[in-house]
Symmetry: C2
Subunit: 321 residues, 2 copies
């Protein structure tokens, strides 16, 4: 008798990924959800090891994310930042007081030789997160954005320069020698793979760039679905639309679906973009039209439920194909 | 014509030293005061480089010291500490939010290869301190307290164990290979040397333990005075009295004067202890009886003025001897 295939593996970046992960966590038993998170926008700042996407996912699943900023912790204060400014330190990357504790603990553990996946598990446990949050790799991978102003480290481009320099290309330094997390290298007992509504180019692409991950996903015989990060030609948050345009893609959900072609079996398209469904289905990708905007927790749970139903529907069609 | 001898070199530890340094700073032009500070109770904690005595002196001279605790900054908040506790990190050494910014900047600069003296100068300048605050050395020196419970790192004994284990001996790991700060190695244009009312065993002794410092001070032909840290057989703050007893000294200002014999020409004795003056003078040390308790800024300025007058009075007697 085959082992029951019960697990959902979700690929996530920051805010959008974290929101759907929260919906999935509400819909699934804790042991049935693994969220594999982009770490290519991690960086070292003020001597601290900062993992923005891991923290956004962790804080969101712990119920302590800041709903206004989309990053950091809720009920945050800024005393350290103010004092850092007084001492002449850089303050363009805002680190709240409570958030800083995370970076202090992470930095100390990493310096002591712990793996990022261990530290993430410890932190998440302390914050009461039940499901598994795993970094895409324990090795350092860093997104470099080639722009009209030269090559920029991701956070320089994203935060310090407010995404303004036009993007020419993106690469993931260190990816070629990184080892994927076991959850990505040898996914087991999967019911389905969910590509969260995260930025395809700087959240999902780095995960796929780790050697073996793309091949593994291409070879999976379970439903693989992506939730659109683009609605009505706009990114819900962040620079995904700007990147689609500057990298020569269609600035639409269709552009994203084309980017994921070969990797996914299904695409969750927003109702606004229903007219794009035939063009996406022509790529060999099934489409589920639904409301993809996650304004509140009910939206997140509803979208997660729709995603899981889509996965299960695809499973029977995969079995019959 | 000889260069005018105008500078005061003060040796200081934490609270008591910082208070007298503030009085001296009010009495002297900025360029006439150098405060050489103990760094043997520095330590690494939560991955940060912490210099408690340097910071107490710096915060005090900047007017931002916390008057209630005797350490850290005034108007402090504790959000990072609370969050560190939530994450399971050690919280026995209390680090305020604003204070943490100092440690973050120091740690980053030291890791980048800066000397502690450079970092201290940068931080003090940023906080508006005008006189020179220098670490006794740029090299790591660490106080180890041998106790009835074994050898303990200083902050373990001092903060975590509340000075409870009985002290058998004290040593300064790394002192033997440390290079003194130039202000201690080759003091120039000195009007006088002031040993502040700091703990003789763990604040002043480490400075004297740096190779060459004791010899240099012994050879100085300018007045060298100490202000008593013991009044009425009690330490004004901290474990000095307990250490005097456990290390077999007289628990009194006389015990301290004996400890400094050969190094100082004058001793500022509290009025409470005036009866000890003859015994101290019998050591070949001149005595000035005065009020040594520094309860407020006026006390600090008054004690500093008395100390400077004593220095100048000793100068004429040294010239005539």
């Amino acid at each position: 008798m085959p082992h029951p295939s019960t697990r959902i593996l979700a690929l996530a970046g920051g805010v959008g990924g974290a929101k759907l992960a929260l919906g999935l966590a509400a819909a699934l038993p804790a042991e049935a959800l693994t969220v594999a998170v982009n770490t290519a926008d991690d960086f070292e700042h003020l001597g601290l090891s900062i993992s923005p996407d891991l923290d956004t996912v962790m804080y969101t699943l712990a119920g302590i994310a800041n709903p206004e900023t989309g990053w950091g912790r809720r009920d945050e204060t800024w005393a350290v930042m103010d004092a850092l400014g007084q001492l002449g330190a850089e303050t363009w990357f805002r680190l709240g007081d409570r958030d800083l504790a995370t970076h202090i603990v992470r930095t100390r553990r990493l310096r002591a030789g712990a793996r990022l996946s261990e530290v993430t598990r410890e932190l998440a446990q302390r914050l009461g997160v039940k499901c598994a949050i795993v970094p895409m790799t324990d090795d350092p991978v860093r997104t470099i954005v080639s722009t009209d102003q030269g090559d920029l480290a991701f956070q320089d481009w994203f935060v310090r320069l407010h995404c303004e320099p036009a993007v020419r290309a993106i690469r993931f330094a260190g990816a070629e020698t990184a080892t994927p997390h076991p959850a990505l290298r040898e996914p087991r007992d999967l019911r389905g793979l969910v590509v969260c509504p995260s930025n395809p180019f700087v959240s999902v692409a780095p995960i796929l760039a780790i050697p073996g991950v793309r091949n593994t996903i291409e070879g999976l015989r379970i439903p693989r679905v992506a939730v659109t990060p683009i609605v009505g030609g706009q990114a819900i948050k962040g620079p995904a639309a700007k990147m689609l345009a500057e990298l020569g893609h269609d600035v639409s959900a269709l552009g994203v679906a084309r980017y994921y072609a070969g990797l996914i079996d299904g695409f969750l398209l927003d109702r606004t973009d229903a007219a794009l469904a035939p063009a996406i289905e022509a790529l060999g990708i099934k489409v589920q039209v639904t409301d993809t905007m996650m304004r509140n927790d009910l939206d997140k749970r509803r979208l997660a439920a729709t995603t899981l139903e889509f996965v299960d529907a695809l499973a029977s069609s995969l079995r019959h194909s």
